[in-house]
């Protein structure tokens, strides 16, 4: 009987490390963390081709951390553990049926401002001999870009729908536009546009160049832009 146990223990001494090593390698393997997602190749459909004339003159780069939370019903097992761990006087509360779940994301984005020359009228460019008077339209936010590669989910507890994630991205976009305007994106945009146009008109042989700005103020110009959300 003792021999039998000795054999069994010896076998265990040989087998346990092999199993432990197998589990260790499985969990440490970089392949474990790789997605098992198979993404099929699908076509890219061109839906529209538009002719535009937009002068991009300023770019603002920003990085934001956004968080949101919601209350989500607890599962039966979680409720059981909650009741098990809470002292009796506190169990049975409404809060015990719900749990707070957080979503924290890091959004990097680019806000681009400039001028839409497609909105210009012929009267915005007055030429007399070698002099030119050019009226710039109001500067606009032309693009707010937060692409999937600029977006990182840092903490995701519970279940969050795609729509909830999209809403957070839209909020990030709105915040970035506000911050870009605060940091003077329109002022930078105008000074760059003036420099570009002056250089161009000088090259074309004009010696008297006047660049006017449209009477519309900056807040008015924001209304032309479909801001995210």
């Amino acid at each position: 009987m003792t021999k039998y146990w000795a054999k069994l223990i010896k076998l265990a001494i040989w087998l346990i490390p092999v199993i432990a090593l197998g589990i260790l390698i499985l969990f440490l393997s970089p392949r474990r963390n790789k997605q098992s997602l198979r993404i099929d190749q699908t076509a890219i459909i061109i839906q529209e081709i538009n002719r535009v004339a937009q002068l991009f003159t300023a770019r603002y780069y920003d990085e934001l951390v956004l968080d949101t939370f919601k209350l989500q019903p607890r599962g039966n097992i979680q409720r059981f553990w909650s009741n098990f761990s809470s002292p009796a006087p506190f169990s049975g509360r409404v809060q015990d049926d719900f749990q707070r779940v957080d979503l924290v994301v890091i959004a990097r984005g680019t806000v681009m401002a400039g001028y839409d020359f497609g909105l210009m009228e012929p009267a915005d460019m007055i030429i007399e001999g070698k002099s030119i008077v050019f009226t710039l339209p109001p500067p606009q936010i032309l693009e707010v870009i937060i692409n999937p590669s600029d977006y990182e989910v840092f903490i995701e507890e519970g279940r969050w729908s795609l729509e909830e994630s999209v809403a957070l991205k839209q909020k990030a976009g709105r915040l970035m536009v506000e911050r870009a305007v605060e940091r003077g994106i329109f002022t930078r945009s105008e000074s760059t546009a003036r420099a570009i146009l002056t250089r161009l008109f000088l090259s074309l042989g004009f010696d008297q160049i006047e660049i006017r700005t449209s009477p519309d103020d900056v807040s008015e110009s924001l209304r032309h832009v479909p801001l995210p959300g």
């Binding site: 021999k3 529209e48 535009v52 693009e143 999937p148």
Partner: protein, 204 residues
């Protein structure tokens, strides 16, 4: 726990065996070391001098299947549709003294080649069209969905060259400058893009 009468010498192979296993385990864990990426420094507010002349709106369906690893049961499938707005045009900083030739009422403009200015996958254009999952599987997380969307973004970005957007942007830029120069009073206007004369007559 070893048999009391066992010879200590018989334990030596067992000791070697344990040492080898520990060494293998240690080496396996060493493979996980990752390189720390170099920090990137970017100016928050920058100047740009780019004239966008073509805008393409493209759509793509992301079709993905999650084939489970051995320790999970059941598949997951998802279909997500995305739209991207791509703008291309000319970098005006590349225009120099040699780009513009004027003689009397004639002007010749040499434009630099068109380039991609922006690729924007607007959040509101992302839609979950369909999702299916096995009984034992949890729904796709936003992290997983974002990985799929990143793949779609990469596909669209690498497909830009085949879409003809750069050629369209060059042509539109030529049309824009031609009509501008005519408004300024030039009668003969010729626009070339990267040493290629564009036929703009009749396209206005």
């Amino acid at each position: 726990m070893i048999h009391p009468k066992a010879n200590p010498c018989t334990l030596l192979p067992l000791l070697h065996y344990w040492l080898i296993l520990v060494a293998v385990g240690f080496l396996a864990s060493c493979n996980r070391s990752e390189k720390t990426p170099e920090p990137i420094t970017i100016m928050q507010l920058q100047e740009m001098s780019e004239m966008a002349t073509a805008e393409f709106v493209v759509s793509k369906i992301v079709k993905a299947t999650d084939v489970p690893p051995w320790y999970k049961v059941g598949e997951r499938k998802t279909l997500i549709s995305v739209k991207a707005r791509i703008k291309a045009g000319i970098d005006l900083r590349q225009l120099n003294d040699q780009s513009l030739h004027i003689s009397g009422n004639s002007v010749v403009l040499h434009l630099p080649p068109a380039q991609l200015i922006s690729l924007n996958i607007e959040p509101e254009s992302i839609r979950q069209e369909y999702e299916w999952r096995g009984f034992f599987r949890s729904p796709f997380s936003n992290q997983e969905r974002n990985l799929l969307l990143q793949q779609a973004e990469q596909d669209i970005r690498s497909g830009v060259a085949q879409m003809g957007i750069l050629e369209t942007a060059s042509l539109h830029a030529a049309l824009f400058f031609e009509s501008w120069f005519r408004l300024m009073g030039f009668e003969h206007v010729e626009v070339t893009v990267a040493n290629k004369t564009l036929e703009t007559t009749g396209l206005n």
